[in-house]
């Protein structure tokens, strides 16, 4: 199958194939470097867990940008989500309430963004920046009012909150544990693939399940439903929508509010799944990373997932990698991937790309060869470098919604 044929495949074929190739490469490197973390169940779980907030916030960004509104305020909406997620749980005694209020809190941020950008026509980036300033102040203020009065809470953190918990898929990962059996057979690649799959299914948190389910749901919503079609026209050509009687303001408001709700959900996930308490500055820039994942993912749900995993994997791996050897072996993975890019570029006669990819591949390889463990700054930096690298080679193929970021006034220009 040629590359162009491959590119024409629908996303639900393309991404699994790519994922499979990725696992094969990881498995190969794992054999070469003789350590087992790269495809282990726990690594995958951790990677997935850390990809989740980025994924869900990224899907939030997707909904907003698909209806034409740039949402750089995702970070602020996530912060609102963390606060309200914790508060809802503490106030009403169930993490599900926390999730509900987390979503609601983020949605309020979305509403504010929608009022400013859609209602008043304020520049999207300006409004987003303002929300990013407003949200942490508000959260801290509310903490002072609320959490500081609670046992174990303070102005900068909430008392412990209950986790949403999770479940293990029966038969496949539990009981007969079919996948686990195959993983333990230790067959090259096959076991790796099943290790990864079992990692997905073992003790899957409900939020991870919801997050993963959101990918096909949002893809379906956007492409196959009336709601999605009308939402997308607001981001592609709002005047065309208006001329057919579609209330573009409404679409945009809904899109941006849902976007905020998803960002809030991502924030409450950090509280409910990862940390089990609200802590000031807990989002640590994940809203921005979500935006990067969205762009990386070419404004498609499946792409956002890929982008989130691209961030979550090295990050999760580094947390699990107490010796720093697994992170180091990622350098080899990068080198291999870049060699593939190089070969592909040369066959496409794209000499500049080829040379660039080759050079970086050699650099990565040398780095790999001349270190024993990853230097301590590497794990934290790796996801960002990876995304930069991918964008360097893939940016020209990206296409954003045609009217995203543009002001829209009813009645046209």
């Amino acid at each position: 199958m040629s590359f162009t044929q491959f590119q024409k495949l629908p996303a639900y074929y393309r991404w699994p194939i790519l994922a499979f190739v990725g696992i094969v490469v990881l498995a190969l490197v794992q054999e070469l470097t003789g350590q087992g973390l790269l495809t282990s169940t726990t690594t995958i779980q951790t990677a997935l867990k850390w990809a989740m907030p980025i994924l869900i916030a990224g899907l939030g960004g997707l909904l907003s940008e698909r209806c034409g509104v740039v949402n750089i305020g995702l970070e602020g909406m996530m912060i609102l989500g963390t606060w309200f997620g914790a508060w809802g749980t503490l106030q009403f005694g169930s993490p599900w309430w926390g999730l509900f209020f987390g979503i609601l809190g983020g949605a309020m941020g979305g509403l504010l963004h929608a009022i400013a950008t859609v209602g008043f026509g304020v520049d999207h980036i300006v409004s987003g920046v303002a929300i990013n300033i407003l949200a942490p102040g508000t959260a801290r203020y509310l903490s002072d009012r609320v959490f500081a009065q609670m046992d174990g809470g303070s102005i900068s953190q909430s008392p412990r909150v209950e986790s949403l918990g999770g479940f293990t898929w029966p038969v496949l990962a539990k009981g007969p544990d079919l996948f686990g059996r195959v993983e333990r057979l230790d067959w090259f690649i096959v076991s790796d693939v099943f290790g990864v799959l079992r990692g997905l299914l073992f003790q899957m948190s409900y939020l991870t399940a919801i997050g993963l389910a959101l990918v096909p749901i949002s893809a379906f919503l956007l492409t196959k439903t009336r709601f999605g079609l009308r939402l997308r026209i607001a981001g592609e050509n709002p005047l065309a929508g208006e001329s057919l009687g579609i209330n573009i303001y409404r679409q945009k408001f809904i899109g941006v509010i849902i976007s905020g709700g998803l960002a809030g959900m991502a924030g409450s996930l950090i509280v409910l799944d990862l940390a089990q308490l609200y802590r000031q500055n807990q989002t640590t820039g994940r809203g921005f990373i979500a935006l990067a994942a969205l762009i990386f993912g070419n404004w498609k749900a499946s792409g956002v997932l890929a982008g989130a995993v691209l961030f979550g994997y090295p990050f999760g791996l580094s947390l699990r990698d107490l010796e720093g050897t697994a992170t180091r072996s990622l350098l080899l993975v990068i080198a291999i991937a870049l060699v593939v890019v190089m070969v592909w570029a040369f066959t496409k006669q794209n000499i500049a790309d080829g040379i660039l990819a080759g050079t970086v591949a050699v650099g990565s390889l040398l780095f790999f060869l001349f270190t024993n463990t990853a230097p301590s700054w590497l794990p934290g930096t790796m996801p960002y470098v990876l995304v930069l690298l991918v964008l360097v080679f893939a940016s020209q193929r990206l296409r954003m919604p045609a009217a995203v970021g543009l002001p829209y006034r009813k009645g046209g220009s």
């Binding site: 400013a116 304020v122 520049d123 303002a130 002072d144 921005f288 990373i289 762009i295 930069l388």
Partner: protein
């Protein structure tokens, strides 16, 4: 003529004033809800702000904010969203601290050398994002976000341990070797004292203020008066029309990103030249992001950003006195900043619409009159 002049002034002031009033009201509500007395809080803020020492604090705070605002504004004028000022200035200051400590130069020259290194490093790092955009089509919003993390989590974190000042056993605290005194910038207390009383309590008005003023003037001349600035603005307003008009857009992107970074390089200098004289544990962060807010609030205007920087500095310096006098909690300051920013941009938008409508009206009247 006169009436139109006053009208224009009113229109120009309408947005910031109404935003301020709105923020004032909303903050008061927040204060009352949290059982603070807003009047007490505001009068505490004002009482503090009129003291000479507080004004010095405010100016010291506003100086880097303004420079950071200009750095962001240079990009904005070209529709380039340089979120990377944060990483650029930290990296620039780090490099300038390390390299500056290694050279021996006469007084003044040393200082200029440190500034030069910071500007070059800032410019190059920002230029990298420009280069990625021009050659590889990488969106600068994303690349600068990534580069921020690469600079702080990667480059600085990786290199910092290598350039630590050797300290005697037992001493804690980390920093690069401090710059020699030849690199320190003189403070402006002498100048201030000519006009008022002696400055007490160890307040020193940073000499970087002069740098900021020069940056502001150069920015104004560059953007509004120079041919190159015209090209930058034209590209920002309509890249295709600018290209048709002979403006090389790729070069402009590199130029704007580069210049933005050059100015960004100066943001960290107060720490280096007039505070701790090294890149150390207490190095002031987040000024890059604050600069974005300053640029937005000041509408990228060299004068408007002065007001915005002063306002933010006023609020920042107020947070301390509010806490210590227990008249309000410090979050109120951040909340006010956010509200002012949001309210201001909404108000700007509305005023712009009024203005546009008037312009159209005037234009069609002209058409009618001539027809």
């Amino acid at each position: 003529m006169n009436t139109s002049w006053t009208r224009r002034l009113v229109l120009a002031l309408a947005a910031p004033v109404s935003a301020f009033v709105f923020a004032f009201l909303l903050s008061s509500i927040v204060l009352i809800l949290s059982s603070y007395n807003p009047i007490a809080a505001y009068s505490e803020m004002i009482n503090n702000a009129v003291k000479l020492e507080s004004i010095i604090d405010m100016l010291n705070e506003a100086t880097p904010l303004y420079i950071s605002g200009v750095a962001a504004a240079i990009g904005f004028r070209m529709n380039l969203f340089n979120i990377g000022v944060e990483g650029q200035y930290q990296l620039a200051a780090f490099a300038a601290a390390v390299i500056g400590a290694k050279v021996v130069l006469p007084n003044g020259l040393h200082m200029l050398f440190v500034m030069g290194v910071a500007m070059i490093v800032g410019g190059l790092y920002s230029g990298l994002a420009g280069l990625l955009k021009v050659t590889r089509g990488v969106n600068e919003v994303i690349s600068t976000i990534m580069l921020n993390s690469v600079a702080t989590l990667g480059i600085i974190a990786g290199l910092f341990p290598r350039f630590l000042e050797e300290k005697a056993d037992g001493a804690v605290g980390l920093g690069t070797t401090p710059l020699a005194e030849t690199a320190w910038i003189p403070n402006l207390n002498g100048v201030v004292q000519i006009f008022t009383r002696d400055i007490v309590k160890g307040r020193k008005l940073t000499g970087i203020l002069v740098v900021a003023i020069v940056v502001g003037i150069l920015y104004h001349l560059f953007i509004n008066r120079s041919r190159l600035g015209f090209d930058v603005r034209a590209t920002g307003m309509n890249p295709l029309a600018a290209k048709v008009g002979g403006v090389p857009s790729k070069k402009m992107i590199l130029l704007a990103m580069g210049l933005s970074g050059v100015v960004a390089g100066l943001v960290g200098l107060p720490d280096l030249l007039s505070k701790s004289h090294s890149y150390d544990q207490g190095f002031t962060k987040l000024r890059g992001f604050a600069g974005i807010a300053v640029a937005l609030l000041g509408r990228n205007h060299p004068g408007g950003m002065v007001g915005a920087a002063l306002l933010f500095a006023f609020l920042n310096t107020s947070s301390g006195v509010l806490q210590i006098s227990k008249t309000a909690s410090s979050e109120i300051v951040t909340i006010m900043q956010g509200i002012i920013l949001l309210a201001a941009v909404v108000a700007y938008q509305m005023v712009a619409q009024v203005r546009q409508r008037e312009e159209i009206k005037a234009a069609s009247e002209a058409t009618g009159a001539n027809a």
